[in-house]
Symmetry: C2
Subunit: 261 residues, 2 copies
DNA sequence: CGTCGCCTTGAGTTTCCTCAAGCTAGGTGG
DNA sequence: CCACCTAGCTTGAGGAAACTCAAGGCGACG
């Protein structure tokens, strides 16, 4: 089961030249940030690295050198369970901060795996320390972003704990769909989707067999359609009604945040 | 089901005189903090409030005025599900920061309920902003503490998603036991335990009926013993083996953190 | 001494799991 | 260009974990 994650391609780590500002373009909550804040953030990031599909960016129990800004591609954060299975705690999309949750511990709590060809920009512990000193505002936004993510995670947990397999799958698909749309606002209802049904099951506490049945149900009802590595949402409203997840409005005011220096 | 939470005692909000430093005494990761940092933290906190058992500190969808430091007592963070049920996302013990996850949103994502007679000290948004400016080190520790909590939450999620009801209950009991011990290091294996089996079920995605059966199993095997509002852990090792949760070491080095000003 | 909140126990049911086999599409080597 | 190979998806049948409903007990507190 877990050789899917442990049998790995060699990591290709090649530096990229990239317009620095674009690195942070999609950073969540970045609407609150001035271009000055973003430049600061960009300066603190290390050189971007490309990572092949299925390659591991950082393995569970590795020493923690810092976090990463995900620039391109999808990444999963997973833990090995003592029954040999895998639990996927998060899927990250471009603009997300990846791997920060391990910062408080001696060794990494989760394995970061590229689900598609990926680019990440490292944010070392030392630079993170600098960030807190040099830009209280940016630090506060980082904190807020972590709080927003905690709420989203709690919503998923509530779904896993309390709702049917069908609702859970619908909720996850919608969550990813909405996030992908936020990033590529221009795209139609078709979106890239590198997850396998096994991945979905590992995130929702379901077997891939059962995920397959649920998704087949959606396809038969023409709520979604699938092609290789992508799919099309035909009836988001129906999915949303089934998922029953609360709509959360992010506070874009932030008048209490420290001013840009 | 949810009248347990919605039928409320009137809130008694009376200021307390209290040695300020003791407020922060139990703050997680506070080993990293100097007494100067702690004084700073204490200055930023509002006057402590007492809250009766079962009273609501802040309700879901209320406007968010800030977070709280839990000084005394236990607090739950819960959300109402659209099937009428309740999901409890966190149990907080003295020293925990409570309600911070709602900071990024326009209205509170969860209801904070006192599970026992409780004292909380408010940390308003404005003071939180000051904190990021005046003490980068304290801000970073706050961030780290949030990361630590995120890992603990992910561990619980993995348990809910993937392990048996028995393991889940064992894991939750142990988690609370360990945390209670950390706070009151002196106490024996008996500890105050204000949760009902309904609460445990609401946190783990189980019915109270099933929680009862699982706990009966533990009692019959003499792993735990129960008295009113408290219980005794007789065989922590057996529970731990069953729970199968990873041991996480908090990094108390923190040499990359900003220095105290 | 009655009430109320909480726990217990039983019986029948549902949801999801396990195991097992087969299918499909895309990639690869001959 | 075809034949095979593999990863991932599908479908069925049987079983187990946890749920629902229901009734009763027990202890704390007014």
């Amino acid at each position: 089961m877990h050789n899917r994650i442990s049998a790995l391609l060699p990591e290709k780590q090649q530096d990229l030249e990239m317009a620095p500002a674009s690195l942070v373009r999609k950073f969540e909550l970045c609407g609150i940030l001035s271009s000055c804040d973003r430049d600061m953030m960009t300066r603190l990031l290390g050189p971007p690295k490309t990572v092949n599909r299925h390659a591991v960016i950082r393995r569970e129990n590795d020493p923690v050198t810092g976090a990463y800004l995900l620039v391109e591609g999808w990444v999963s954060s997973s833990t090995l369970r003592n029954d040999g299975g895998v639990f996927i705690s998060h899927f990250y999309l471009p603009g997300d901060i990846v791997g920060a949750s391990s910062l408080a511990h001696c060794s990494a709590s989760d394995t970061l795996t590229a689900l598609s060809p990926t680019v990440v920009a490292p944010l070392s512990k030392a630079r993170l320390g600098d960030l807190f000193v040099q830009s209280p505002r940016l630090a506060a936004v980082l904190y807020l972003d972590a709080m927003r993510e905690a709420v989203a995670f709690a919503d998923r947990m509530a779904a896993v704990a309390r709702s049917s397999a069908e609702s859970r799958v619908a909720a996850l698909l919608l969550d990813l769909f909405d996030r992908a749309c936020t990033i590529d606002a221009g795209q139609a209802d078709l979106f890239d989707f590198p997850l396998t049904q096994q991945d979905i099951g590992d995130a929702l506490g379901l077997t891939s067999v059962h995920v397959s049945r649920m998704m087949r149900g959606f396809i038969d009802r023409a709520w979604i359609r699938r092609s290789a590595r992508a799919f099309i949402v035909k009836d988001a409203a129906a999915l949303r009604a089934l998922a029953g997840i609360p709509r959360r409005l992010v506070d874009t005011g932030g008048d209490w945040l420290p001013a840009t220096r």
